[in-house]
């Protein structure tokens, strides 16, 4: 079948399809009214909810550090002095990472719509999906930083209390006990971090992995820069 036949076959087929599927104005209006959110709209909504939840969580973490723990604890825990800059640094890291994330999200959100060129649209959707994935990673990172700082503080306090119980300073504690406490902590913490990341990656790939691959392949197809061939 040559190209002329192709066109005639297409004309027959498309006019037949149109007569079979043609809709009235009312039906089209109904379809618009019962419209569901597209996947990008849903992701967009989820990111916005996520941004809000993270903001509340960060506010809580900082408020807890600065105000709440002092308010509720009768005998505030005395942390080692070197832990205070670490705590401040972790809070700064959390806030700046969060702000960068929000800035990037709004930049991506502004950058595309369906009547853009396909290349721009594809890049926009890919960026939105990656932003969505990053948001989960950000949540895990924030939680982990918080856990690690609390964990170190807890270990320091535990060692100090144990030393006081034994009637001496920290230096009197056998090193083996200190290593055991740190070891147990790490055994609990490392798998939690790893599992969280793996679980998030698996969940995201399960939901959007194939879609992301397809979009990336299409983008690559558009970006092909092969030597021009001889044109008929």
């Amino acid at each position: 079948m040559d190209i002329k036949d192709l066109k005639s076959a297409w004309n027959t087929y498309s006019s037949m399809e149109l007569s079979k599927h043609q809709l009235g104005k009312e039906t089209i209006g109904d379809l618009m009214k019962t419209r569901t959110k597209t996947v990008v709209d849903r992701i967009d909504r989820n990111i916005q909810i996520g941004i809000l939840i993270l903001l509340v969580y960060i506010a809580y973490v900082i408020l807890d550090d600065v105000y709440l723990s002092k308010l509720f604890l009768k005998n505030p825990v005395e942390y080692p002095e070197w832990l205070i800059p670490m705590d401040v640094f972790s809070n700064l890291l959390i806030v700046s990472t969060y702000l960068i994330f929000v800035f990037r999200y709004f930049r991506v959100k502004r950058s595309f719509s369906s009547d853009n060129e396909l290349h721009g649209l594809l890049s926009g959707i890919i960026q939105t999906l990656k932003t969505y994935r990053r948001m989960f990673y950000l949540a895990v990172i924030i939680l982990m930083i918080n856990l690690i700082v609390s964990f170190i503080a807890g270990i320091c306090l535990g060692i100090k209390l144990k030393a006081e119980e034994l009637g001496g300073g920290v230096s009197h504690l056998p090193m083996s006990k200190i290593f055991l406490i740190c070891g147990i902590g790490l055994v609990i913490l490392v798998p939690i971090v790893l599992l969280s990341f793996l679980l998030l990656r698996w969940g995201f790939n399960k939901l959007y992995g194939r879609y992301l691959i397809r979009l990336n392949e299409t983008l690559l197809e558009l970006e092909e820069t092969d030597e021009p061939e001889v044109v008929e």
């Binding site: 399809e17 149109l18 597209t38």
Partner: protein, 162 residues
């Protein structure tokens, strides 16, 4: 604005049906894509400027939506192309040769990539390279190169099918 939009879409719905025909091999997917294109057209309608043809703008939004649409994994596409029942000609125009051509065309087209499908659809619709370039947002030269490759690919696919 909604009334005006409904009127213009009803008159030009053929474009959406053609895009759905080329991109969907299942009736359920076709309905979803039709609705998704409709939603995207409505969302983009305020940004439509009369400096370009309405059909050009409509093809662009419809094809962009079809290429970037999210397909649920649970629906397995029919690897052989359209179900044959869907492409049987109605009795009064029954022509076995035409039916065979349509079957071949559908099977071959179903094996093209998303971008290739958009270019072949516009080519079959007799659009010039210049307009295809405007709709797809790729250069005219690249459209020519791509078209050349698609023709070769289609010929090969149809020989295999025959």
């Amino acid at each position: 604005m909604e009334k005006e939009f409904l009127q213009i879409i009803t008159e030009n719905q053929g474009i959406i049906h053609k895009v759905c025909s080329i991109y969907c091999d299942m009736e359920e997917d076709r309905r979803d894509l039709f609705q998704e294109i409709l939603v995207q057209l409505w969302k983009s309608y305020p940004s439509f400027r009369s400096e370009s043809k309405f059909s050009t703008w409509m093809y662009r939004v419809a094809l962009n939506t079809a290429i970037t649409t999210f397909k649920k994994d649970k629906r397995k596409p029919d690897k052989t192309g359209f179900p044959f029942d869907n492409i049987q000609l109605i009795d009064d125009v029954y022509d076995p040769e035409a039916e065979e051509q349509i079957r071949l065309l559908n099977r071959a087209v179903s094996q093209l990539t998303g971008v290739e499908k958009s270019i072949i659809l516009l080519f079959l619709e007799d659009k010039k390279y210049e307009e295809i370039a405007v709709i797809t947002g790729i250069t005219q030269n690249y459209v020519r190169v791509k078209m050349n490759r698609i023709k070769k690919k289609l010929k090969l696919l149809m020989i295999i099918e025959e």
